[in-house]
Symmetry: C2
């Protein structure tokens, strides 16, 4: 069979499975998720053996040790995948929930009811645990899913998908509700992205290159997450001790993630007093500072920032620092360089807090808290399937609800239109 017919067959099978999964009661879905969790643990030897094949191939191909590390599945990885599914069981099933209901003057009762999206295509890189996380969330929200993981993890992903399908079959549900694309060739992705007749949504997870490729080629709507160039604005009225704690946490607690701070903006009236003590803490934590001229004047150890620094997502212990004349300038800087991901202000001024909340145009806007809270779990949505930085359908962390949509249900007793 050609790559094209393999993918089209998968897409058709997913569409058919989606109809069944959409009707599946919550209790049954939870039973399946728990069974998958148990089976992952029971089959840990088999999973590790398949994973070992990927790891050996990766070594032969000369992948970096960081990449091999991300690829490697250990007992703890399997335990964490299984526990992740058990957590999804605890989340409320959004399907069938009536989000709103009202009555029309003619007696029609109108409601909006949550329904699954249908078929979701997940395209991701390297880490095999995404296979389980994504499958668990899509399934609980009543969707079928087609998974296309990184080609370097294909054996590991295949055994994980096989375990899921085996449980689905055993429980009398369509095994094609969760499928993995078994083809390394990138052509498979192109063909997948053209199946708009069968697939409702594409979620890419990975580097900016992958996401741009998917957006460029997809005929199917894409929920995308480009990057996080997150700012904290330390206002002149900030409690400086609080600002220090928050900024340090936002930069160093886990610098390699999208919700870490990349640029710190400091009000000029605060700079002279705040910057030296803040810089000291950053240097103790081995953070390199790249500052505007005023920052470099106050903190002599800071390196001069160049234009590229203001839009950099370092994902590392590096921070761009700029002293701003006013709140207007801070907001203008954010509007110009932001990735619409996360922005925070530290202030004790009510009016400035309100204005920042209204005007900072990002998916999560915080007052007096670390940017690191832009995370589905931290915000109380449960597990997340990604963070959307585009506005349509979902903006910010996407949990189960964001994997559904709503339809209108209209109950009448003979109404017609005049």
């Amino acid at each position: 069979m050609s790559v094209e017919s393999v993918i089209i067959e998968m897409a058709k099978a997913a569409r058919a499975a989606a109809v069944q999964i959409a009707k599946c009661p919550s209790q049954k879905k939870d039973e399946v998720l728990l069974a998958i969790a148990d089976k992952l643990e029971a089959e840990s030897q088999r999973i590790k053996a398949e994973n070992q094949k990927d790891v050996e191939r990766a070594k032969e191909m000369g992948l970096t040790s960081a990449m091999i590390d991300r690829l490697t599945v250990k007992d703890a990885t399997i335990k964490s995948m299984a526990d992740g599914l058990r957590e999804v069981v605890q989340l409320e099933d959004p399907v069938g929930a009536v989000t709103k209901t009202w009555k029309r003057p003619n007696g029609l009762q109108v409601s909006k009811m949550r329904i699954p999206l249908g078929v979701i295509g997940m395209i991701y890189e390297s880490r095999p645990n995404v296979t389980i996380d994504a499958a668990g969330l899509c399934f609980k929200a009543g969707n079928a899913v087609i998974l296309r993981g990184g080609s370097e993890a294909i054996q590991s992903n295949q055994v994980l998908a096989d375990i899921i399908s085996a449980v689905l079959k055993e429980k009398g549900l369509p095994e094609k509700a969760v499928q993995l694309v078994p083809i390394r060739d990138r052509e498979a992705v192109n063909i997948l992205l053209a199946q708009e007749e069968y697939i409702d949504l594409i979620i890419p997870r990975g580097g900016e290159g992958l996401i741009r490729f998917v957006v460029e080629h997809s005929k199917i709507p894409v929920l995308k997450h480009y990057k996080g160039v997150c700012h904290i604005f330390v206002d002149e009225s900030a409690d400086f001790a609080m600002a220090e704690t928050i900024c340090l946490n936002a930069k160093v607690q886990r610098p390699g993630v999208c919700n870490a701070m990349e640029t710190m903006l400091v009000h000029k009236s605060a700079a002279q007093q705040f910057l030296p003590r803040m810089a000291k803490r950053f240097f103790e934590a081995k953070v390199e500072l790249r500052g505007c001229p005023e920052t470099c004047r106050i903190v002599s150890e800071a390196k001069p920032a160049v234009e590229e620094d203001w839009s950099a997502e370092y994902l590392d212990l590096i921070l761009a620092v700029r002293v701003v004349e006013s709140m207007d300038e801070a907001l203008a800087h954010i509007a110009k360089y932001s990735s619409n991901h996360t922005e925070a202000i530290v202030t004790s001024d009510y009016e400035r807090a309100s204005r920042f909340v209204r005007e900072a145009d990002s998916s999560v806007v915080l007052v007096n808290a670390s940017t690191r809270f832009n995370d589905g779990g931290q915000l109380g949505l449960g597990a997340e399937i990604g963070i959307s930085t585009s506005k349509l359908h979902a903006f910010g962390p996407m949990g189960l609800e964001e994997l559904t949509t709503t339809k209108f249900v209209v109950l009448g007793n003979g109404q017609i239109r005049n």
Copy 2:
């Protein structure tokens, strides 16, 4: 200037204007909408004069009288555009509304707040009133809009857009918040669809050809409405008098619109009794019936349906009719041929009503009411900008709320992540 630079300049100006419009208080927006309504009426001579140029050109080009009719702006058209804006003033401003709020164990207060989408591109055909309707709704929801109407209406659309911009300027708001593409060439649409850096959403309104073209070429998310192949299933337990009234209304009250019924499915146990009396009413209303063999056996005047009839959107006094063995067969027929627009059941059976509501996978599902109620105004959303038949972001009629999204607002007092 090249077409490309014209469009890019417009897109950049729209993005800058959007920032201002997003902050504009409701009261001010309503004041602007009322002023536009008044100015439309005050400048009716100028509007009609510009429209006359389009109409004459259309006649020279040999457009059909139906098309010229749709293109022609009369005093009543202007009155109705102005009144439409006055109705939008009455609708609640969705921007800034907090749709949900909750507290986290660490004391963080998390909310979801409605915000404008940003810049919307509207691509539509012929009727100039869409210029006013779309501009009014986008503006009230805090968005900037770029309008690209049919080339045959370009003079009419330009004078309408000029009137809006004049009012915006007069009220101290950016006049580029509403712009019309002043270029007839279709190249302009292609370039517009590539401005994903500046435009957040494209809404096409028109025939299937236009919509497919937009979906195919857009790098920007598209909210699309393909067509309405709407079904009514008359169950064996239906009140036949009610079913007759509903089916007649759904087919003949306005056959040329997307929420008119195109296929009627009748349970075999109801067919013998229901079909002859229903057919009589349809024939009286000059509806042509195209039936399955069983329908043709019962109603001898019905023409035999061919396969294409089951997926046809007639938009005319023609109806496909099929007798089904069971509710399963009715749902399977709908699943196969539906356009995910509108489906209705007429039944007095509680279990069947519930099952239909759960399983019919369309944007509006009705029990014992006409399909003609799939309409923003009729469902109580106020004016609508279109009906989405794809599931992402909005499914069904789109009112003001669907022209917004939500962001997360997080209020803390020093929280950091451990």
